[in-house]
Amino acid sequence: MTDQQQEDLRRDQVEAGTTTGLAAPTLDVTKDRQNSLWSDAWGQLKRNPLFWIGAFLGLFFALMALFPSVFARGADPRKCSLANSKQLPSAAHWMGYDQQGCDYLANVVYGARTSLAIGILSVLGVLILGVLVGALAGYYGGFADSLLARITDIFFALPLILGALILLRVGPSTGLPILSDRGVGAVAIALSVFGWMTAMRLVRSQVIAVKSSDYVAAARAMGASNFRILTRHILPNAVAPVLVFATITVGVLIAAEATLTYLGVGLQRPAISWGLQISSGQSLLRTAPHLVLFPSIILSLTVMAFIMLGDALRDALDPRQRS
C-alpha cells in the first residue's frame, strides 16, 4: 500500500467512527512491501542498459518536439525552393532536400512534435476509456461486467489499423467536430476508440484481484463509499501494470499514426508528419532513397525509445521476472 492509500484508509476509519484517529492502524508491513516495489524497481532500472538507451532517446525526441528550430539547425521546413529538389544529403543540409526542395532535416525534425502529440494524446484517450470501462466492469461485476466484457470483445476483434482506417475515412463527411478536420485530434480519437481494450482488461483484472483483498474489505466494512474505495484503494494498485502498458503503447500508437497517414487517411498536407514523408518518398525510392530512409529511421528510433522504456519498466516492476 502506498502512503497515500494508507492515509486514506485511516481517514475512512476516522470518518466511519471506527477508530479514534490516534490509534495507528498496523499496516506497516504492506506499506513496506509497496515502497520496496518502487525502490527495488528503481534499483533494477538503474542497472538496465535498455532503460538508459530508452530514456536518452525519449528525452532527445521530447526536446526535439519542444524546440524543433534548434534541432533543425535554423532551417524552416516550409521555406522551399524547387531548385533544390531531391538534393542528396550534404554537410550543410544533413538530410538533403525533398521533392519540393524543402530542407529535409527541418521537415523530419518538425515531424517529432506531431508524432509525440498524437502518441501522448491517444494514449490519454486509451487510458481514459480503458480505466473507466475496466474499473466499472471489474468493480460492479455481474451483468455490467458481462455486457462491458462483450463490448470489449467486439472491439478487440477489430484490428486497430483497420478500425481507425474506416473511422478516419468516413470522418470528414460526418461533419462532427474534430473528427472531420483530419488533424491530430481526429487521428488521436480514432486510435483511442480502437485501442482501449487491453487497458480495460488490465484494469479490470487488477480491480477484481484487489477488490477481494483484506484491506478493501476493511475499508468497506468501515463504510467507505464505492467511489472512494475505487479511486483511493483499488486504482492505485493498477498503476504499475498500466504504466508499463501506457509506455509501450505510446510507441505503438506513434507507429500506427504513421501507418494511417501513409495509407492516406491520417494527417494531410500541409501538416508535417513522418507518415506523409514516407508516403511521398515511396515513389522516389529508386532515385532518392533518403526521402524514405530518414523519416523511417527517426520514426523507428522514437518507437524504440518507448518500447525499450516500457520493457525495462516491466522487468523492474514485475518481481516474478527477476532472476
Partner: protein, 307 residues
C-alpha cells in the same frame, strides 16, 4: 468439451454481430453521404441517386438496413459493390492470396521464433540469448511500415534477391512480405519461448525429473520443452486469426491482391458493402482461431477442463 465448444460458438455470435454492426454503422450511419462521396465532384442525376439509395437501402433506418444485410448473410448474400460485383465473389477471389501470405508468415514465425527462443532460453544470459534479446527489441520497435520499405529497398531493389512487389513468382513472391508480416509475431514468439523455457527450467518438476535420474535430453525435451511450448503454441494459433486480418500495410506496400488490399481499396472508395463483408470475415477468423486455441489449450494442458 463438446458442450463447451458449442457454448463458445454460440457466444461468438453476439461478438460477430456486434463487430459487423459497428462497422456497418460507421460506414452507413455516420452523418455523410456515401453516394455523394462515390460521385466525388461530379453531379449525379437525382434519379440515379435515388436508384442507388434504394439499392443500398440507404433510406431505411439504420437497424432496418442492418437487418436486411443480416437477412442477406443467411443465404450468403453479402451484397454487391457499386459496380454490381458480388462481395462474396471479391472475397473468394482475394482470400486465397491472403491465406497463402498467412501460411508463409506463420511458418516463418513458428520456425524461426521457436528455434531462437529455445536456444536462448536453454542458455539464458549467454551470448545467443543476448543476441536474441537485442534483435527482438529492434524488430518489435521497427514499425511494419518501415520494415516493409527497408526490406523492399534493400533485399528487393538493391540486392535483387526478392521480387519487389506483386505475386507473379508464385510462393517465392510471398517470402519477403510473409517475413515482414510475421516479424513482430516472430520476435514475440522468440521472447515468449525464451521466458517460458527459462521459467520451466527452474520448475520443481524439472528438479524432480533430474532427481529421478532421467537423461539430460529427456529432461529438456519431455519435461521442459513440452510444458514451455503450451503458451507459445496457443499464441501462434491465435496469431493466425490476427494475421489473416492484419495484412493491410504489407499487402499495400508489396502490392499483393489479398483481402487486406481489397478492404483498403474499398475503404478508400467507400464501398460500404465490401468493407462490412470483409471486416466481418476478418472478425470471424479472429474469433474462430481464438476458439481453436482455447480447445487446443485443453488438449495440451490436462489441468484445463471445460465442463
Amino acid at each position: 468439451m463438446g458442450r463447451y465448444v458449442a457454448r463458445r460458438l454460440l457466444l461468438t455470435i453476439p461478438v460477430l454481430i456486434g463487430a459487423s454492426f459497428l462497422i456497418f454503422a460507421m460506414v452507413y450511419a455516420l452523418p455523410g453521404d456515401p453516394i455523394r462521396a462515390l460521385a466525388g465532384d461530379r453531379p449525379l442525376a437525382p434519379a440515379v441517386v435515388a436508384q442507388l439509395r434504394a439499392q443500398f437501402n440507404l433510406d431505411d433506418p439504420l437497424v432496418i438496413q442492418y437487418g436486411k444485410y443480416v437477412a442477406g448473410l443467411t443465404h450468403l448474400d453479402l451484397g454487391t459493390d457499386f459496380h454490381q460485383r458480388p462481395v462474396l465473389e471479391i472475397i473468394t477471389d482475394r482470400l486465397p492470396v491472403t491465406v497463402k501470405l498467412t501460411v508463409v508468415a506463420v511458418l516463418l514465425e513458428a520456425s524461426i521464433g521457436l528455434v531462437a527462443g529455445v536456444f536462448a532460453g536453454i542458455r539464458r544470459n549467454g551470448y545467443f540469448d543476448n543476441l536474441v534479446l537485442v534483435s527482438t527489441t529492434l524488430i518489435i520497435s521497427i514499425p511494419i511500415l518501415v520494415l516493409a520499405f527497408v526490406s523492399q529497398y534493400v533485399l528487393g531493389l538493391k540486392f535483387g534477391w526478392f521480387p519487389i512487389a506483386g505475386i507473379q513468382q508464385g510462393w517465392y513472391s510471398y517470402l519477403l512480405p510473409g517475413l515482414v508480416l510475421a516479424s513482430g509475431s516472430l520476435a514475440y514468439v522468440a521472447r515468449l519461448t525464451r521466458t517460458s523455457i527459462a521459467e520451466n527450467m527452474n520448475a520443481d518438476y524439472v528438479r524432480t525429473a533430474k532427481a529421478k535420474g532421467l537423461p539430460r535430453r529427456t529432461i529438456i525435451v519431455r519435461h521442459t520443452l513440452r510444458n514451455s511450448l503450451i503458451p507459445v503454441i496457443t499464441f501462434i494459433g491465435a496469431d493466425v486469426g490476427a494475421l489473416l486480418g492484419g495484412a493491410i500495410v504489407t499487402e499495400a506496400v508489396f502490392n499483393i491482391p489479398g483481402i487486406g488490399r481489397a478492404v483498403f481499396d474499398a475503404v478508400r472508395g467507400q464501398e460500404g458493402a465490401v468493407v462490412v463483408g470483409i471486416v466481418t470475415l476478418m472478425v470471424f477468423f479472429f474469433i474462430f482461431f481464438n476458439l481453436i486455441v482455447d480447445v487446443l489449450y485443453a488438449v495440451l494442458d490436462p489441468r484445463i477442463r471445460y465442463d
